[in-house]
């Protein structure tokens, strides 16, 4: 009898478990858009600057201006703007009736508060305005002035990274911190809450798992009729899990960092397409211009001639295109028709003979650093080593973790001769890339391992950035790009593209037709439509 009772109990438990195992969760009554990202995600506009964080704040906040696919900007939270004749004062008329997520209205006071906070904290995108913006002044409830210290040509373009915050919400949630009377300026609160007026607002944010946002019903701007009710930014798990989730329709858009074989595998799934576009990032081999032998222009040119670029863009990073200089062709101010190196061993030898190190090649070993987190770079290193050996240049490959790379580039004597790193524009203009790559103030950061440190370059860059007339500014950008190619401080490898697998069967992603070449803006989810009834 006891055995029978035991058996019965076991049977009930097992069937319960089996039922639990084979049934899925409760039906979802809201449409949801789930996008994978490499983590961490910060939703405080004074901290956010990486891909997932930038994408998040674009959805949670409004900016004064909004970028266009052509690399221009149009008024957004600002209804209109005027620039003073001395190009130092920008006066913005705000749209009336823009509501923050707590229901209060966005006013000029909030704009001033946001700028003051950003300049004080100094993190995230603050470097775009620090040292350039002198003050923010409130003229009336809907009019605000941003006053510059000196003319700054790309200022309007850079304002796409200026995300407006609700002063009352931030100040009601401050804690003790390093900013004097402002405490922590609400930084801890803003780790998991938003204070914005964007089309979406934070619903849940378990920090290490996902950011769940829901539609803000009182959003003032354009929202596509079938934009998702909820948007979930997921921390991407391993590639095999991503493929499984795409197969099960548990993920609508993948992150941009999946291995090639995963993309190929996902492309075979019914209803899944691969979207890709050049996003303005450029991959470089940064040559240390301060350390022998790469401090010699002819040695650098020899290395530029020796590399087999075709191998890189066809085999190692397939489907990419070779870069023409430091700026990607989709970025505003890109100079067309720049000279482009290709592999030519004779020219490489010719340049090498002109180099002052030609007689000391045995002692002049070139150190090529490889970031251990990017396996493909080892292939680039091996190719570079083999190519350089053909003209008698010894190359030593040294693997480094990212932390070590950040440390060694800060010291020109420690910095390896060749450092493969990609750099992204922070606003849709060549000025962003040129400043990152060749201004002395960025020397020693991972964006500029070249250590160009040239007074002439600084003057040219400062002059270009201070030029308000866009055509003139672009002309000056072009000149700097020409000089950069001529001096060969860098080997310009290829233009990167952003690549995502997505559920084309039930997701309409209009930005794909004309991608905006600025990080994060193609993930503005109010334009992306989800049709659950079309799920295959």
């Amino acid at each position: 009898m006891r055995t029978k009772v035991r058996f019965l109990f076991l049977a009930v438990v097992m069937s319960g478990l089996l039922f639990g195992l084979t049934t899925t969760g409760l039906a979802q009554d809201k449409s949801i858009l789930r996008i994978g990202f490499s983590w961490t995600t910060f939703i405080d506009p004074a901290v956010a600057s990486d891909f997932s964080s930038s994408s998040a704040v674009i959805n949670l906040y409004d900016s004064l201006v909004y970028p266009t696919p052509e690399g221009d900007v149009v008024p957004h939270a600002a209804e209109s703007f005027e620039v003073s004749t001395d190009n130092l004062t920008y006066t913005f008329k705000l749209r009336k009736g823009i509501k923050f997520h707590d229901g209060s209205e966005l006013t000029a006071e909030d704009v001033k508060f946001t700028m003051d906070r950003l300049l004080e904290i100094g993190e995230g995108y603050a470097y775009l305005y620090r040292g350039k913006v002198d003050s923010a002044k409130v003229l009336d409830k809907y009019t605000v002035q941003l006053v510059l210290k000196q003319p700054y040509g790309p200022f309007l373009a850079s304002l796409i990274r200026f995300y407006l915050m609700n002063e009352d919400v931030v100040m009601a949630n401050t804690k003790p911190g390093p900013y004097g009377d402002f405490g922590d300026y609400g930084k801890e609160y803003l780790l998991s809450h938003d204070a914005g007026s964007g089309a979406y607002m934070v619903k849940e944010f378990p920090f290490e798992e996902y950011l769940l946002m829901e539609r803000f019903p009182e959003y003032w701007g354009e929202v596509a009729p079938n934009a998702a009710d909820e948007v979930k930014f997921l921390r991407s798990p391993d590639p095999v899990t991503i493929v499984t989730m795409i197969t099960r329709r548990e993920l609508e858009i993948t992150d941009a960092w999946q291995p090639e074989e995963s993309y190929q595998s996902m492309a075979r799934i019914e209803g899944v397409d691969i979207a890709q576009w050049v996003n303005g990032n450029v991959y470089y081999l940064m040559l240390n211009n301060k350390r022998p032998p790469t401090d010699d222009i002819h040695f650098r040119k020899a290395l530029s001639w020796v590399l087999d670029y075709d191998q890189i863009i066809t085999t190692i990073f397939p489907e990419t295109t070779q870069a023409h200089g430091p700026v990607a062709h989709v970025t505003g101010g890109y100079k067309e028709g720049l000279f482009q190196y290709h592999q030519d061993l004779d020219k490489a030898r010719e340049e090498l003979q002109k180099s002052k190190y030609y007689d000391q090649l045995d002692d002049a070993t070139v150190i090529f650093a490889i970031n251990v987190d990017v396996p493909a770079l080892e292939k680039v290193g091996l190719l570079f080593q083999a190519n350089a050996n053909e003209i008698g240049v010894n190359v030593e490959l040294v693997k480094m973790p990212w932390g070590k790379i950040v440390e060694v580039v800060a010291d020109p004597d420690e910095n390896p001769h060749v450092m493969p790193i990609n750099v992204a524009p922070h606003y849709p203009e060549a000025g962003s890339m040129i400043e990152s790559k060749y201004h002395s103030k960025t020397a020693g950061t991972w964006e500029q391992a070249e250590w160009v440190d040239s007074h002439v370059f600084d003057q040219l860059i400062n002059d270009a950035l201070a030029t308000v007339d866009i055509e003139e500014r672009y002309r000056k950008y072009g000149l700097i790009q020409e000089i950069a190619v001529e001096l060969a401080p860098t080997i310009f490898l290829f233009e990167l593209f952003e690549k995502h697998a997505y559920q084309a069967a039930y997701v309409d992603w209009p930005q794909l037709e004309k991608p905006i070449p600025v990080m994060g803006y193609n993930n503005d989810c109010r334009f992306i439509e989800v049709f659950p009834d079309r799920i295959p």
Partner: protein, 343 residues
């Protein structure tokens, strides 16, 4: 020496070990390459902002001064600020530890129950086809890393049959139980939320099993080996001659003493699960402490590295003390040694 005295002495030793561990990891973390403030703030952060961070985190002070500040913070229940998550590491530990503990406890349960059971079966039927199958299985288990099992399960039950969830701890459509222990299965049981309990169990099944299989194979092998050794001992032969039933001999006189090496190894394996969990947490998007620890190391998040190593150290020591107590229960010689005053 009484067992209680022995326990107090073990706890005192443990405290010394923890202080030593904290000093060691504190200094090792700080000699790793890379400027943590620059890594956290990015290449374009102005120098004064980076410097303010260094000062705020005492990174510009000598190492022994930094350690002093860290100790003071720790005694106040704070592990300092994380450069990776930008919040107090104590909050991070509180957030991520329950997820890993739930995973590891469930793995430990699988490892303990099936390790002993299959080991006993293997010994009972030693040198038969059952034993041979189990032994081959254990070779595979010992030789295969946890993430390979994880991917295999994912492809089988997630991709092919689609019967188990692939990511996270709970479906978004299910209301999570209120946080008490932070372990969803336990919290949902306490609050009687059986829908959440079953769903959390479904989410746990693949990662916990993948994590458990390696050590499980080891427990099977050790239990089998220990039991087959003891089978040949004279006291078993005497008990058989006395006519004691096989079931009683196997369970009471054979299995119990044979478990002593298994339990000892199980303690070490359990603690090792904490360190290995990141392999599985990455595959299943499990928001645990191990994955957090790996991220902290990549980002050179000094306070987080120190805290994670220390927390794992505390768990490791605690588990070993518990194991010692269990072994003392299983082995009368240890208890008797205590009573007779032997050390």
């Amino acid at each position: 020496m009484a067992f209680s005295t022995y326990l107090v002495r073990r706890l005192a030793y443990s405290l010394v070990i923890l202080v030593g561990l904290s000093i060691l990891i504190f200094f090792i973390a700080r000699v790793m390459p890379g400027d943590p403030a620059r890594l956290a703030l990015g290449p374009r952060a102005p120098a004064d902002v980076v410097q303010r961070w260094r000062e705020w985190m005492h990174l510009d002070e000598p190492l022994y001064v930094q350690y002093y500040y860290w100790l003071v913070d720790t005694f106040h229940g704070s592990f300092g600020q994380s450069l990776y998550t930008r919040r107090d590491v104590a909050i991070d530990v509180k957030t991520f530890l329950p997820a890993t503990m739930e995973l590891v406890l469930f793995s430990g349960l699988i490892m303990g129950v099936f390790g002993v059971l299959l080991g006993a079966i293997s010994a009972r039927y030693h040198d038969t086809w059952i034993d041979n199958v189990l032994r081959v299985g254990t070779y595979v288990g010992v030789a295969t890393p946890a993430f390979v099992f994880a991917i295999f399960f994912l492809l089988l039950f997630g991709y092919l049959f689609k019967i188990l969830p692939t990511l996270g701890r709970l479906e978004s459509t299910i209301t999570p139980p209120p946080v008490m222990t932070g372990m969803i299965t336990i919290d949902s049981l306490i609050t009687g939320n059986f829908v959440a309990f079953l769903d959390a169990l479904k989410h746990l099944l693949m990662p916990a099993t993948a994590l458990a299989l390696g050590p499980l194979a080891q427990e099977i092998r050790i239990t089998r080996s220990s039991m087959t050794d003891n089978m040949l001992k004279p006291y078993i032969a005497v008990e058989k001659v006395q006519g004691i039933p096989d079931r009683v001999i196997n369970l009471k006189y054979l299995l119990k003493p044979s478990l002593i090496p298994t339990v000892s190894i199980m303690g070490l394996d359990f603690a090792a699960l904490l360190g290995n969990a990141f392999l599985v947490e990455g595959v299943f998007g499990w928001p645990g402490l191990s994955r957090y620890g790996i991220q902290a190391m990549i980002q050179k998040d000094l306070n987080a590295i120190t805290a994670v190593v220390l927390v794992i150290g505390v768990i490791f020591i605690t588990v070993n003390i518990i194991v010692d107590m269990v072994v003392a229960y299983l082995d009368p010689r240890i208890r008797l040694r205590g009573r007779s005053g032997m050390t």
